[in-house]
């Protein structure tokens, strides 16, 4: 059984603001400081979308991100794919034409961009893919999910790329629920057995079509990469506090045989859903963390709840889907019941 990380960094409770990332000096270099999943991050490059550490990163960073020479291959490889190699606590990932990243022991991301690729262009791969895999490396429960705050709890929306996680979160933020995270979401099980969510980001990432359909043009910030029409979007409000997890919803499209609505799957299916919605299910398998995820799923099913949210993928249906969710949150006691 792999030990879960129980540490909750109080820095994560610092107020979120829209100011630029705080910088600090370390060894003469100017560095950017962030809080990701409750962990202090010190980075040589700006990582838009992450939560800036307002304290300027007073303590030693848990994770260091720096540019440097990254090998094209590792020694002692135990698992590999066309673009990655795993060797002990070293994980090498190549995004051909853009950059290579070496993730070391869950505490360092070293990156080397391909010639003519700017750090700005490479940042999204470090802050998304790099961090997601780094959290796997740390033995964290990390899900492919967005999350919003409902009163004093967090609810998660899981699903593969394209399932509608970010657009649903964006619609909920507009409906008055603060953003907790987008894309990936680290969970920790505290000493008392309760699952908590550690915020990972403070901006949404939305495609232009979603920005248009959700009327968010005024909140659009920089593109996540200049080559694609996906943008950071400043949410109406975001929270940087750790929150108890109240529910996980696995997003599904309403197509036969799945009928629309919210349902509670049996515990076996729920366990598989959590594992299959790990940020990178292949990493869970390669790092032999299946048991960790099943245990977490059991805890989450018991202490919070795992549900399926099945709906048509259609912007016009958002008000109805938000209505289902609010009714469900009243049932779960997250919102006050209507008088």
């Amino acid at each position: 059984m792999v030990a879960l990380e129980h540490r909750i960094d109080q820095k994560a409770d610092s107020r979120c603001s829209s100011s630029a990332a705080q910088r600090r000096y370390l060894g003469g270099e100017r560095l950017f400081s962030y809080i990701v999943s409750g962990l202090g991050v010190s980075s040589e490059i700006a990582l838009p979308g992450l939560i800036p550490d307002e304290s300027g990163g007073s303590g030693a960073a848990d994770i260091v991100i720096r540019g440097g020479t990254v090998p094209t291959a590792l020694e002692g490889v135990t698992a590999s794919g066309p673009t990655w190699q795993l060797a002990g606590d070293h994980f090498l990932l190549s995004i051909p034409g853009i950059l290579r990243m070496l993730l070391i022991g869950g505490s360092e991301i070293r990156f080397e961009t391909e010639s003519a690729v700017s750090a700005e262009e490479a940042a999204i791969f470090v802050s998304g893919t790099g961090f997601g895999i780094l959290l796997h490396q740390r033995g964290r429960i990390v899900l492919h999910a967005s999350a919003v705050r409902v009163k004093d709890s967090a609810v998660l929306f899981c699903g593969p790329s394209g399932a509608g996680k970010s657009t649903l979160a964006a619609a909920l933020v507009d409906a008055g629920y603060d953003l907790v995270t987008d894309d990936f979401c680290g969970l920790s099980i505290r000493a008392d057995g309760s699952p908590w969510v550690e915020p990972d980001g403070r901006q949404l990432k939305l495609w232009q079509n979603s920005i248009d359909r959700l009327a968010l043009a005024e909140r659009r910030a920089a593109p996540v990469r200049s080559a694609i029409e996906k943008y950071y979007v400043e949410p109406r409000a975001a929270t940087a506090s750790a929150l108890p997890l109240a529910a996980i919803y696995v997003l599904r499209e309403a197509r036969p045989p799945f009928a629309p609505g919210i349902a509670r799957p049996n515990i076996v299916d729920a366990g598989l859903m959590v594992r299959n919605n790990a940020y990178r299910p292949a990493m869970v398998r390669r790092m032999a963390q299946m048991e960790l995820y099943f245990q977490a799923a059991a805890t989450i099913a018991q202490r919070a709840g795992i549900f399926t949210l099945t709906r048509e993928i259609n912007f016009a249906r958002f008000p109805a889907v938000i209505g289902w969710l609010e009714a469900h949150w009243r049932e779960l006691g997250l919102l006050e019941r209507a008088a």
Binding site: W84, P256, P257, P281
Partner: protein, 303 residues
């Protein structure tokens, strides 16, 4: 050692029927049409790319994805594990059949998009009379028949080619109905076995056995006949009517995937002008595949 074969076709040409036949082989009752793998069952599935590469295709341009796609199919052909236990491959023994609507194209580095022999040992190419494809495509895409005919004649046509959103699959180039079939038939990278939808209807047992024999799988006439009964059009349509089909078109007025399942329905579904457009657009390939009636076409114009 597993072996891979593409089930290649232009959309609405019988690919799903063929997959249903494979799924129903050596079964004792008709399989549920919703048990066919959907997400991982098609080469352009985004999840296949993301799971093999460990970074999201959604952060890449279509062109950047295309450059890497050969690596995905090579890796899968070598036997990379799938991560979704709910989505088994369509397979017979150690042979996997993977649906694709992608045209046979080359990356900007000159590699076959689908990985050449590294991606699959061969392809079963299913073709259908374009005059029957057009109304079916119109139904599937919730567009008019004229729009479908335009799409079939457009060199730049594609599925999932949008750039302002993340389509649910990787882009699939569909450079004209003729160009799509020519690409598969004329490439010399992998062997191709041609199957005509109309021949499947006329003599399913023989055509199915022939196609499987191409993939090195011998089945008896009785086994082929049994699969044919279980994947009979009436059975498929009955299941869809009763329980729905998850691959059915969204927002289509008729709502169904299994529509008529007959050949030659174009006689009462297309106007003479529509027939003439298709025949003019695709005359050479229609002749090559035995669909042509250019003389009648000329007569119609003359009359």
């Amino acid at each position: 050692m597993r072996r891979t074969f593409w089930l290649a076709s232009y959309p609405k040409s019988g690919n799903t029927w063929f997959r249903m036949l494979v799924a129903n082989l050596r079964q004792d009752k008709p399989v549920d049409i919703n048990d066919l793998p959907e997400h991982s069952g098609i080469a352009s599935a985004r999840g296949l790319f993301d799971n093999v590469m460990l970074f999201p295709s959604g952060l890449l341009t279509h062109e950047e994805c295309d450059r890497l796609r050969p690596r995905v199919y090579e890796e899968l052909a070598r036997g990379a594990e799938q991560d979704d236990p709910d989505e088994p491959d369509t397979r017979i023994g150690d042979v996997r059949f993977v649906k694709t609507h992608d045209a046979w194209t080359y990356t900007d580095r000159g590699e076959p998009l689908l990985g050449g022999l590294g991606g699959a040992e061969g392809a079963i190419l299913i073709v259908r009379d374009p005059r029957d494809v057009a109304p079916s495509l119109a139904n599937h895409g919730n567009q008019t028949i004229d729009e479908a005919i335009t799409f079939m004649g457009d060199s730049d046509a594609a599925f999932c080619g949008q750039r302002d959103r993340q389509p649910n699959q990787l882009r699939q180039l569909l450079p004209r109905w003729s160009g799509h079939n020519a690409g598969w038939l004329d490439q010399t990278d992998i062997p191709v076995h041609l199957v005509r939808y109309e021949d499947m209807q006329a003599d399913l047992v023989d055509v199915f056995r022939g196609a499987l024999a191409f993939a090195g799988i011998e089945i008896s006439p009785e086994e082929a006949a049994q699969a044919a009964r279980f994947a009979d059009f009436g059975e498929l349509k009955k299941q869809e009517t009763e329980r729905g089909f998850r691959e059915a078109p969204r927002n289509s007025p008729s709502g169904g995937f299994f529509r008529r399942g007959v050949s030659g329905a174009w006689h009462d579904e297309l106007s003479p002008a529509q027939v003439a457009r298709i025949e003019a657009d695709h005359a050479d390939m229609m002749t090559r595949l035995g669909y042509s009636a250019p003389e009648r076409h000329d007569e119609r114009i003359a009359s």
